[in-house]
């Protein structure tokens, strides 16, 4: 049984009386400890799928199952301990008036795991490659890459099985991007995490993911394995065009 099963998922937003079909009948499965990529241009509905899993977008049709069980609404603490998300913009995802210490201790406090939080927080910082001296800094005293590391540390505080990554590196500059991706790969290997990763960049997806779903206008276009991606064995013209657009960078890496 797959860890994440998404079946005929549809998300429809109603704004000012107009219906926007953000996701239409998308299905895919992610096996445990696999890294699954969602790729497509802006507005293809890939982030909306992550938001629907987290309860931040309405599920209008279909079903999402984690570990065989349909998701409860509201998502609740058990879900929080199982699934966490890393947001795209590290400048917006950390509270500007909370120290790193506060950001990392909050999930422990919510889940009543506040005992020896000092040790846990320092360990979490070391795990994401930040010096423990950063513990009492504010987000504005950190660089973009350092902030994203804090956000990753926060998502891992509750030791979830599944990490949802919403373009975790697109707001960072190129060298920091590579460092952050390597950090994520290392953490996945060490902890046996399952990744569901969204990106518009096939090079990033190729570096990180075992399987890829190409999306366009809210619909699934084609699902590819890493081998198919590497040998450019796409069937649909859209996937082929997307591949061609980022192929040169993939070959370099």
């Amino acid at each position: 049984m797959a860890l994440i099963e998404i079946e005929n998922l549809s998300v429809i937003f109603t704004t000012a009386g107009r219906k926007v079909r953000a996701v239409q009948e998308v299905s895919f499965k992610v096996e445990a400890k696999q890294s699954f990529g969602l790729v497509g241009e802006s507005g293809s509905g890939k982030s909306t799928i992550l938001r629907a899993i987290c309860g931040m977008a309405p599920i209008t049709g279909g079903q999402i199952r984690i570990d065989g069980a349909p998701l409860p609404t509201p998502r609740g603490r058990a879900f929080a301990a199982q699934v966490q998300m890393v947001f795209q913009d590290p400048y917006a995802s950390l509270h500007p008036r909370h120290t790193v210490d506060r950001v990392l201790s909050e999930p422990l406090a919510i889940h009543g795991q506040g005992r020896d939080s000092d040790a846990k927080i320092e360990q979490a910082l070391v795990d994401v490659g930040l010096p423990p001296a950063f513990r009492f800094r504010y987000p504005h005293q950190l660089s973009g890459g350092q902030r994203q590391r804090v956000a990753i540390a926060r998502a891992l505080m509750l030791q979830p099985q599944i990490l949802l990554l919403d373009e975790p590196t697109s707001a960072l500059d190129a060298s920091v991007q590579a460092e952050t991706l390597n950090l994520l790969s290392r953490l996945r290997a060490e902890r046996g995490l399952t990744f569901l990763m969204v990106s518009h960049d096939l090079a990033v997806i190729d570096h990180m993911c075992d399987r890829v779903l190409v999306m366009q206008n809210g619909q699934a276009v084609e699902e590819l394995s890493r081998e198919a991606l590497a040998s450019a064995a796409m069937i649909t013209p859209y996937a082929r065009a997307l591949f061609a657009a980022s192929a040169d960078r993939m070959l370099e890496g």
Binding site: C54, Q84, T99, I110, H111, F136, R137, Q141, A151, M157
Partner: protein, 301 residues
């Protein structure tokens, strides 16, 4: 002292206490750069010291009358601000009056902004019908002119200091609710709120720990800017005979008493008027300075 400053400015604090103290110290350094704000702080501190040490500073009792000395002009030996129509020393009365002013100001600070902050953040956070109900109530209060509503309330409750404070508090919370709600709306859909909600945080934890700290600076700034208005409203109620009752030396009441002989014995009304003016100015300058320090948009620069 020499060891304290590097400890406060350490960019890598070792404990929560040190980090908090360091941030406070940095805010103080920012605040100190603004000379007008320092003047405002000085006036506010002077008001507090005046009210604490009024019995020691005042040369005369503020209530005991002395008819032979009535209406002495300023700079008379022993009465450098003059005396009023009952022969009471105006300087002593202003000193004791600062206690009443401070009492009113503190009581209003402790009630109106707290109520406004809670109502505004709850309305903004939950949205929907909670927002609609709370904000329509706020609108009803906002629709009345402040002083008129306060007058009506005092008329119902009866004159007196506590009732005046209550009336001022009831009429001054809606702007805080509005400010807090507006601020809440800008942060409620932010990623950091979503991230914390995703960790299973309750609405109470989110409002208290995440939304309120973002609203607090604008509310605190508004409070200090409104303090002048509160003092003036209290003085206005006193002037109309609906606030503090004679013979207590409330500043508005003193102006009211001096009105009868404003042209011949101008100092009776002018001295407490100057006191109100200076204290209001002080709070306004303090508010301006706090805006520079507390505004989240200027923090971190």
């Amino acid at each position: 002292m020499t060891a304290l400053i590097p400890w406060l400015l350490d960019p890598n604090p070792k404990s929560r206490l040190q980090s908090r103290a360091g941030q406070t110290f940095l805010s103080w350094l920012r605040f100190r750069r603004n000379p007008l704000a320092m003047i405002g702080l000085g006036i506010s501190l002077a008001l507090i010291l005046m009210s604490i040490f009024a019995p020691l500073l005042a040369p005369y009792d503020p209530i005991v009358q002395s008819l032979p000395d009535r209406l002495l002009p300023p700079l008379t030996p022993g009465h450098w601000m003059g005396t009023d129509d009952f022969g009471r020393d105006i300087f002593s009365r202003i000193l004791y009056g600062s206690r009443i002013t401070l009492y009113i100001v503190l009581l209003v600070i402790l009630t109106a902004p707290v109520v406004g902050l809670i109502i505004g953040t709850v309305a903004g956070y939950f949205g929907g019908w909670v927002d609609a109900i709370l904000m329509r109530i706020t609108d009803i209060f906002l629709a009345f002119p402040k002083l008129i509503l306060a007058l009506a309330l005092v008329a119902v409750l009866g004159p007196g200091m506590v009732n005046a404070v209550l009336a001022i508090a009831v009429t001054s919370w809606p702007p805080y609710a509005r400010v807090a709600r507006a601020e809440t709306l800008t942060v409620r859909n932010s990623d950091y709120i979503a991230a914390t909600r995703l960790q299973g945080a309750s609405a109470l934890r989110l409002i208290w720990g995440h939304v309120m700290p973002m609203c607090l600076p604008s509310v605190i700034i508004r409070v200090t800017l409104d303090m002048a208005g509160v003092i003036l409203t209290a003085a206005g109620l006193g002037f109309l005979g609906l606030g503090v009752q004679p013979p207590l030396p409330e500043w508005g009441l003193m102006i009211s008493a001096g009105r009868k002989f404003l042209f011949e014995q101008w100092w009776v009304a002018t001295m407490p008027g100057l006191a109100i003016f200076i204290v209001s100015l002080g709070f306004n300058l303090l508010g301006d300075g706090l805006r520079d320090v507390l505004d989240p948009r200027s923090a971190g620069k």
